[in-house]
C-alpha cells in the first residue's frame, strides 16, 4: 500500500498565472476506497483552483464528518483546513467567514452530514447567504459507517444488502432553491467537463454557492438497483446546459442564438457562458429552475448543470453591513472606541 504520492511530476505540466502547477494544489494521497466518486470531486476542485490561479493560502476548507468530509486532506494541501463535528461545518464556516471575509471558503459535506444531522445548520447558512462554496458529495448513503441509507437515497433504491428504501428522498437542490440559495448547481463526479467550470463559477459567486454532486460510493452503493451507482447515473443524466466559465469579460463580438445561449455576469466582472439544452429554463428565474427539477424528477432524470443563480442578493456581510476591513485585521484602536465614546454611549441609556 502506498502512503505517499511520488514527488516527480510530468516535466511539461502547465503553469498558471502564479507560476504554480497542479502539484501545488494537490493534497496527500487519498485513503478513501479505490474508485470512490469523492476522489474525482477532489480532483475537480484541484483543477478549478489551479485554473483560476487561486492562492492556496487564501483558501479555507471546512468539513463535517464522513468519507466526503475527509476529502479536504486530499486536495489543496497548502490551504487552511478545519475538520469539524458531524453536521456542524456551516457554523464553523460562518464564524470563520465573519472573522475574515478575505478568504475563499470551501465547505465540504456529505448527504448524511448535510441532509440528516446537519440539516438544521444547512438551512440557516443558506438563508444567510454566507459567501462560500458548499459542496455536498452525495452518494445516497453513510459511506463512512458502512453504507446505511441516507436521507437523499431515492425511494425504491436498492441497497447493497438488498433492502429497498421505503422513504421519500430529500432533494437538496430543490431545497436550496426554495430556501433562497443564490447559486445552485447539480453535477456528477464522473463528469469533470461539467464539474470543473461549475466549481469555478461557484468560486466567483459572491454569496452562497451550493453544489449537489452525485458521487457514487463504490463500496456500499454501486450495486444494481441503486440509483446512485456509476451506471445508473450515467444512464439517467440530463444537463440543463453546457457551460463555460469565462474568467474575464470578453468583448462581445458574435451574436448568440437568443434563447439558446445565455450569459450571466458575476459580481466581479467574470461571466458564465451557458449553452442551454433545456428550452423553457432560465437560470435567473427561480420558478423555472424548480420546474425543471420537478419535471426531470418525474421522468426519472437527474438534471445537472447550473440550475439557478442570483447575483443581486446581498451576502451576509452585505446584509450586516460589516466593516470593509476583515474583523481579524481591525486593530484595537479601530474596535475599541475609547473611554470618551463609551461614556457617551452609556450616558445615552441614562
Amino acid at each position: 500500500m502506498s502512503y505517499l504520492k511520488p514527488l516527480f511530476r510530468h516535466p511539461k505540466l502547465p503553469k498558471n498565472k502564479l507560476g504554480y502547477t497542479l502539484k501545488e494544489y494537490e493534497g496527500s494521497l487519498s485513503t478513501l476506497c479505490a474508485g470512490c466518486g469523492h476522489d474525482s470531486i477532489s480532483a475537480a476542485i484541484v483543477q478549478a483552483c489551479f485554473e483560476l490561479s487561486i492562492e492556496p493560502h487564501k483558501v479555507a476548507k471546512i468539513s463535517g464528518i464522513g468519507c466526503s468530509s475527509k476529502t479536504p486532506t486530499y486536495f489543496l494541501g497548502n490551504s487552511h483546513g478545519f475538520n469539524s463535528v458531524h453536521g456542524r461545518m456551516p457554523s464553523v464556516a460562518t464564524g470563520a467567514n465573519m472573522a475574515n471575509k478575505d478568504m475563499v471558503y470551501f465547505g465540504v459535506s456529505g448527504d448524511g452530514d448535510s441532509a440528516s444531522i446537519g440539516m438544521g445548520q444547512l438551512v440557516h447558512v443558506i438563508r444567510r447567504n454566507l459567501n462560500m462554496v458548499y459542496i455536498v458529495m452525495n452518494n445516497g448513503c453513510y459511506g463512512l459507517t458502512k453504507g446505511q441509507d441516507s436521507a437523499t437515497a431515492d425511494q425504491g433504491s436498492k441497497s447493497k444488502a438488498g433492502s429497498i428504501n421505503p422513504f421519500q428522498a430529500i432533494d437538496l437542490a430543490s431545497l436550496a432553491i426554495e430556501l433562497g440559495a443564490s447559486f445552485v448547481a447539480q453535477s456528477f463526479s464522473g463528469d469533470k467537463l461539467q464539474l470543473v467550470p461549475l466549481i469555478k463559477a461557484a468560486l466567483h459567486h459572491k454569496g452562497f454557492a451550493f453544489l449537489n454532486v452525485i458521487s457514487p460510493c463504490v463500496t456500499f452503493n454501486n450495486n444494481p438497483g441503486s440509483t446512485k451507482s456509476y451506471d445508473y447515473v450515467r444512464e439517467h443524466i440530463e444537463a440543463t446546459s453546457s457551460l463555460d466559465f469565462v474568467p474575464e469579460m470578453p468583448e462581445i463580438k458574435t451574436k448568440y442564438d437568443e434563447g439558446k445561449s445565455t450569459r450571466v455576469a458575476m459580481h466581479d466582472g467574470t461571466l458564465i457562458q451557458l449553452n442551454k439544452l433545456a428550452n423553457d429554463w432560465d437560470p435567473e428565474d427561480r420558478i423555472s429552475a424548480v420546474n425543471a427539477l420537478q419535471k426531470a424528477r418525474s421522468k426519472n432524470e437527474i438534471l445537472t448543470g447550473l440550475l439557478y443563480v442570483n447575483t443581486e442578493w446581498n451576502d451576509l456581510h452585505g446584509t450586516l453591513n460589516t466593516h470593509q476591513t476583515p474583523l481579524n485585521k481591525l486593530k484595537e484602536e479601530d474596535l475599541c472606541p475609547g473611554d470618551e465614546a463609551l461614556k457617551e454611549i452609556n450616558d445615552g441609556f441614562r
Binding site: M1, S2, L4, K5, P6, L7, F8, R9, H10, P11, K12, L13, P14, L22, L29, S30, C33, A34, G35, C36, G37, D39, S40, S42, A43, S189, G190, K192, P216, V218, N222, Y230, D231, R234
Partner: protein, 601 residues
C-alpha cells in the same frame, strides 16, 4: 487509433527503456532488483545469460542504456546501471554451477571462429552447449580480443577478464592462440560446417602525409598498437612530454596510460570542440582529473623534428561553423600557428577494418569501402557458410554490440547447420506475470525514490598513477549500491489494462502523479497525442490505447514518463489496471534454462 496490440513482444519491451536501448537487451530492472535483494549470484547470471561479460561490462560498457533511462525524463541523472552490474560481479558467489555443464553431447557439427574477441566468444558460448565442436583461432596469446589488448588494466583488471573468458573456454572450446589466420580459403578447406569471422577492426589510422611523419617515426606511435604493446608488456615507459592526437576513447586510454608510464606533461589535442569529442563524458572527466590537458579546436599541421629527434607539433586553430542542417565544418581562424612541445606522439584518430587474409576470389563479396557484404539480420556473408560479427561486420563499435551480434550470428549458424531458413528466426522468450500480493501490495518496491545518482568512489590518484594495473574505480560498496538500486523505476513492471473491467471512475487518471492517463474521445494519433492531460510530445514513446469503453471514450496512456509506481492499479476499484512484470530475453541459439529465481521482497 486502433487498440494497442500488447501481444506484440516488442510493445512492452520498448517500455523498458534501458533494456530496449541495450544492444543485447539485458533485463536491467530484473538484475537491479536482485542486487537490492542481495542476490548477487542471480543478478550476475541474469547478466551473464544476456551479455556474457558482466564483470567486464560493469566496468567498461559504453552504456547506451543510461541515456535512455526513464529517470532522465523526470530528473537529471540515469540510474547507474553499468556500475550496478559490477556490484553483482564483485559480490557474486559460485556462478559456475548455474552455467551450462559440459561435456556436451556432440551434434557432429564443427565450426571455426576466427578472432577471440567478445563476438567470437559469444558465438562459442551459445554453440558449445548445443554440441558443436568449436575451434577458436587468435593471433594473441590469450582470448578476449581488444578487451585484453586495448582496454587498459586500470579500467579492467586482467583477473576479471580472465575469469569471464575462461567461463567460456571451459565449455570445451578448442583454442589455437598465437595463430594468425592468413587464408580464409585454407580454413574453408578444413571441413568446418560454418565459419565465424570476429577479427575486429585491428588497424589504427595514421597521418602518413603529414610533414615530418617519416623523420619522426621513432617517436610517433599508432595508438592502438602502442596500447597492445603496453598490455603485453613490450612497452614499459614513455617520455615526459606526450601529445595524443584524437578525441575518442582510444585517445583517452592513450593519455591516461601515458601518465602511468612516465608521461608528466600529457596533452590531448583534438580537432573538434570539447563538447563534441567522441570520448564518453566520464572518460574525459577521468582524464582531466589525472592532470591531462585537453586542447580542442586544433588541427595538426606537422611533426617538428630537429637533429633526428621529435621536438613537437604544429597546429592550426579552427572554429566550428554549422550550416542549417547542423552539419559542422571546422574553419581556420586567423590566429597564428601553434607549436606544442613533445617528445613522443600517439596517434589515436580512429580504427579501420582490414582483411588482407581473406581472398577476394572465393565468392565472398566486399563493398566499395573494402567491407564484407553482410546481412544485417543474419550476419551471413555472400559465402553462405561464412558469418561475421562484432567490429569485423560493420566497423568499430563496442563490446556489448559485439556480444549482441555474436548471439544473432550463433542463431544463424545453428539454423544454417540444421538446414533451416535463417530469416525465420525463433521468437524472443517473454513472460508477463502479475505482481499483486494483496489488495494494495506489490512484490516489487513501488515507491519512487528521489535520491540523486550516487558517485562511484575512486582510488587515490597518487596510487593509481604509479601502477598501470591498479584499478581506478573502486566500485560501489554494498550500502551505496542498495541506495542506487532504489532509484530504478522498475520499468519492466508494466501497467496492464483490461478494458472490460473498467467502470470509468477516473480514479487512475486522478491519482497518476505524472498525468499519464487520460480518458477521452478517440482520434488519430497526432490529434490524440494533443488531447491528453499533458500533450504526448515525445514521439519516441508509444501510447497505450484501449478499445472503446462504455461511455464511448477510450483510455489512453502515454508511456513517456510513467513512474511504474502502481498507484493507478492501487486506486482502481476493479483491477482494470494490474502491475505485471515483463521478462524479455532475446532469441539465442542456446536458451538457458531460466536462471531467474522468482523475486522475493
Amino acid at each position: 487509433m486502433k487498440p494497442t496490440n500488447t501481444k506484440d513482444p516488442e510493445y512492452y519491451h520498448k517500455v523498458v527503456d534501458c533494456q530496449y536501448a541495450c544492444p543485447a537487451h539485458t533485463p536491467v530492472p530484473e538484475y537491479i532488483r536482485l542486487i537490492a535483494a542481495e542476490k548477487y549470484t542471480e543478478a550476475y547470471m541474469v547478466n551473464w545469460e544476456s551479455n556474457v561479460f558482466p564483470g567486464v561490462l560493469g566496468r567498461t560498457c559504453d552504456r547506451p542504456c543510461e541515456p535512455a533511462c526513464r529517470r532522465v525524463r523526470v530528473e537529471e541523472e540515469p540510474v547507474a546501471i553499468c556500475r550496478l552490474k559490477r556490484v553483482a560481479a564483485d559480490n557474486k558467489g559460485d556462478v559456475k554451477n548455474y552455467m551450462p555443464q559440459g561435456p556436451f553431447q556432440p551434434n557432429g557439427k564443427k565450426v571455426a571462429l576466427i578472432g577471440g574477441g567478445p563476438a567470437s566468444l559469444t558465438v562459442a558460448r551459445d554453440l558449445a552447449p548445443l554440441g558443436y565442436e568449436v575451434h577458436l583461432f587468435d593471433e594473441q596469446p590469450a582470448g578476449g580480443g581488444m578487451m585484453r589488448s586495448q582496454i587498459p588494466s586500470f579500467r579492467l583488471p586482467e583477473e576479471v577478464l580472465n575469469e569471464e573468458v575462461n567461463y567460456i573456454l571451459d565449455l570445451g572450446i578448442h583454442t589455437q592462440f598465437l595463430t594468425y589466420v592468413n587464408s580464409l580459403k585454407d580454413v574453408l578447406e578444413g571441413g568446418y560446417d560454418a565459419v565465424f569471422v570476429g577479427t575486429g577492426a585491428p588497424k589504427g589510422r595514421d597521418l602518413p602525409k603529414l610533414p615530418g611523419r617519416k623523420e619522426g617515426d621513432k617517436f610517433i606511435h599508432i595508438g592502438i598498437e602502442w596500447l597492445a604493446n603496453v598490455a603485453f608488456d613490450h612497452i614499459k615507459s614513455i617520455s615526459k612530454k606526450v601529445i595524443v592526437l584524437g578525441g575518442g576513447n582510444t585517445a583517452m586510454d592513450c593519455c591516461r596510460t601515458s601518465r602511468r608510464l612516465g608521461g608528466k606533461d600529457v596533452k590531448v589535442v583534438v580537432r573538434s570542440p570539447f563538447d563534441e569529442m567522441k570520448a564518453s563524458p566520464w572518460e574525459k572527466e577521468d582524464a582531466l582529473h589525472e592532470d591531462i590537458q585537453i586542447i580542442d579546436n586544433h588541427v595538426p599541421l606537422s611533426f617538428e623534428v630537429e637533429d633526428g629527434k621529435l621536438i613537437g607539433m604544429k597546429f592550426q586553430k579552427v572554429r566550428p561553423v554549422y550550416d542549417e542542417n547542423g552539419k559542422r565544418q571546422l574553419l581556420p581562424t586567423d590566429e597564428p600557428e601553434v607549436f606544442i612541445e613533445a617528445d613522443e606522439v600517439l596517434i589515436a584518430i580512429g580504427q579501420e577494418n582490414s582483411f588482407p587474409w581473406i581472398e577476394r576470389n572465393i565468392g565472398l563479396d566486399f563493398d566499395q569501402w573494402g567491407m564484407p557484404v553482410v546481412n544485417e539480420k543474419t550476419f551471413q556473408s555472400t559465402l553462405p557458410k561464412v558469418f561475421f560479427g562484432g567490429d569485423a561486420a560493420f566497423g568499430p563499435k563496442n563490446v556489448i554490440t559485439a556480444v549482441a551480434q555474436g548471439h544473432q550470428a550463433a542463431v544463424s549458424i545453428h539454423l544454417f547447420c540444421e538446414g533451416k531458413d535463417l530469416l525465420d528466426r525463433p521468437s524472443p522468450y517473454t513472460n508477463l506475470i502479475s505482481q499483486k500480493m494483496g489488495i494494495h501490495e506489490w512484490s516489487y518496491d513501488s515507491a519512487v525514490i528521489i535520491d540523486q545518482r550516487y558517485i562511484v568512489p575512486q582510488a587515490k590518484k597518487s596510487v593509481t598513477l604509479k601502477d598501470r594495473k591498479k584499478e581506478v574505480e573502486l566500485g560501489f560498496d554494498v550500502p551505496t549500491a542498495y541506495k542506487e538500486t532504489q532509484r530504478c523505476l522498475n520499468c519492466d513492471v508494466q501497467t496492464v489494462f483490461t478494458a472490460d473491467r473498467c467502470i470509468e471512475c477516473d480514479a487512475c487518471m486522478d491519482v497518476c502523479p505524472t498525468s499519464c492517463i487520460t480518458f477521452t474521445a478517440n482520434a488519430e494519433e497526432p490529434e490524440l497525442r494533443q488531447n491528453l492531460l499533458v500533450p504526448a510530445e515525445n514521439l519516441s514513446q508509444d501510447l497505450l490505447v484501449s478499445k472503446e469503453l462504455k461511455t464511448g471514450r477510450v483510455m489512453v496512456k502515454d508511456e513517456d514518463v510513467c513512474l511504474h509506481c502502481g498507484l493507478c492499479a492501487e486506486r482502481c476499484p476493479t483491477s482494470a489496471w494490474d502491475m505485471q512484470k515483463y521478462f524479455y530475453s532475446v532469441t539465442k541459439a542456446y536458451q538457458m534454462p531460466s536462471p531467474l529465481p522468482a523475486i522475493q521482497k
